[in-house]
């Protein structure tokens, strides 16, 4: 199990920020992270998404 950095981003816009806005950088040993509704995490080992950046989720494959 690899411990790495995850970027936590909004999946629902708030009064302050749009969808995709990165609100936190956290450490986890896996993707199953308990987060509040409206947030999701993506592994970010290269630190491409610091707090304040925008993560754009890739389109779902058909």
């Amino acid at each position: 199990m690899t411990i790495e950095v995850y970027a936590v981003y909004l999946t629902v816009s708030t009064s302050d920020h749009p969808v995709g806005y990165v609100v936190n950088n956290i450490i986890s040993d896996g993707p199953d992270i308990d987060l509040p509704a409206g947030q999701a995490a993506i592994a970010d080992p290269d630190r491409a998404y610091p707090i304040g950046a925008t993560y754009v989720a890739p389109p779902a494959s058909s």
Binding site: I3, V5, Y6, V8, N24, N25, I26, I27, S28, D29, I33, D34, L35, P36, A37, R47, P50, I51, G52
Partner: protein, 297 residues
């Protein structure tokens, strides 16, 4: 499952006992302060103190049983006292550097949490080789919080750990902000230790500003202590092309200050919750240290 054989007496809703007010009045009048003496006693007056004492005995016995030890009136006073003290003592202490969760076990209604946010990254030096030496600012430390959290058995306690901020890169981004360490009970945030703010990159012959420390936020607790993280310092320029000193990363208690000196020195990485120090010359700053969470109950 351990057994508790201390059982309340006369516990039914129609039990033949004095009401609380009548019992208090009887005590206050002095009629019962010497206890019963020779003669007939009213059964309701006898039953009332038996119910009160056996009820509390049952409570204490259940605390012992919930901790895994049988509670019975065949035990000695010393054995019961020992079992009760063990049941009331903290059972475990756990430290975590990654996101996690657990379910509150039976008998636990308060948990002490100590959390700190991620330290920020230090700023890079500045300029190119041959230019006057610049020195980046140190990253700020994460905030620290110690709190008593009210919980109930079966509650879900979870948390995320703030990552240390990324190091500043010469010609690129300054030191990154540390992540927040956040505590949730049943998916509702109850406390947060914020990450420190990043140290600023320098430019040739100049110095970068240190980042400020992270703060804290408490939504729900029975008591807490809070400390804002220490800020990073400015870089220090020695002038010319000889050398410079990167700004000190903010220290989180238990972890010291870091700094690097030289013409092209990479900043030092911060310890847990601490800021990375600034780099000098063409070199990057140091990364911030990850936050952590410690709990006991």
């Amino acid at each position: 499952m351990a057994n508790n054989t201390f059982i309340p007496f006369a516990s039914g809703s129609t039990a033949n006992v004095l009401s609380d007010s009548d019992y208090a009045a009887a005590i206050a009048s002095g009629d019962l302060t010497t206890g019963f003496v020779q003669g007939l006693a009213k059964s309701a007056e006898v039953n009332k103190p038996i119910r009160q004492s056996t009820l509390m005995a049952a409570v204490l016995g259940q605390i012992i049983a919930d901790n895994g030890t049988d509670a019975a009136d065949s035990m000695t006073v010393a054995a019961l006292e020992s079992a009760l003290l063990v049941a009331l003592s903290p059972r475990s202490i756990t430290q975590s550097n990654t996101a996690g969760n657990f379910t509150v076990p039976s008998g636990i209604y308060r948990i002490r949490m100590r959390i700190r946010g991620g330290g920020a990254g230090g700023g890079a030096g500045g300029g190119s080789s041959g230019e006057n030496i610049g020195a980046g600012g140190g990253g700020g430390a994460g905030g620290y919080l110690e709190i008593m959290v009210p919980v109930a058995p079966g509650n879900s306690v979870s948390w995320v750990i703030g990552a240390g901020g990324s190091a500043g890169v010469n010609g690129g981004a300054s030191g990154g902000q540390g992540g927040d360490t956040i505590l949730y009970v049943n998916s509702t945030e109850v406390a947060r230790a914020r990450g420190g703010y990043g140290g600023i990159n320098s430019t040739a012959g100049a110095v970068g500003q240190g980042g400020s420390g992270g703060g804290v936020a408490v939504t729900y607790s029975t008591g807490y202590l809070e400390y804002v993280g220490a800020g990073g310092s400015y870089g220090i320029s020695f002038g010319g092309t000889g050398s410079g000193q990167g700004g000190f990363g903010g220290a989180s208690f238990g972890f010291g200050l870091g700094t690097s000196t030289g013409p092209n020195s990479v900043g030092q990485n911060g310890g847990i919750g601490s800021g990375g120090s600034g780099g000098t010359g063409t070199s990057s700053g140091g990364s911030g240290g990850n936050g952590e969470l410690i709990y006991d109950y």
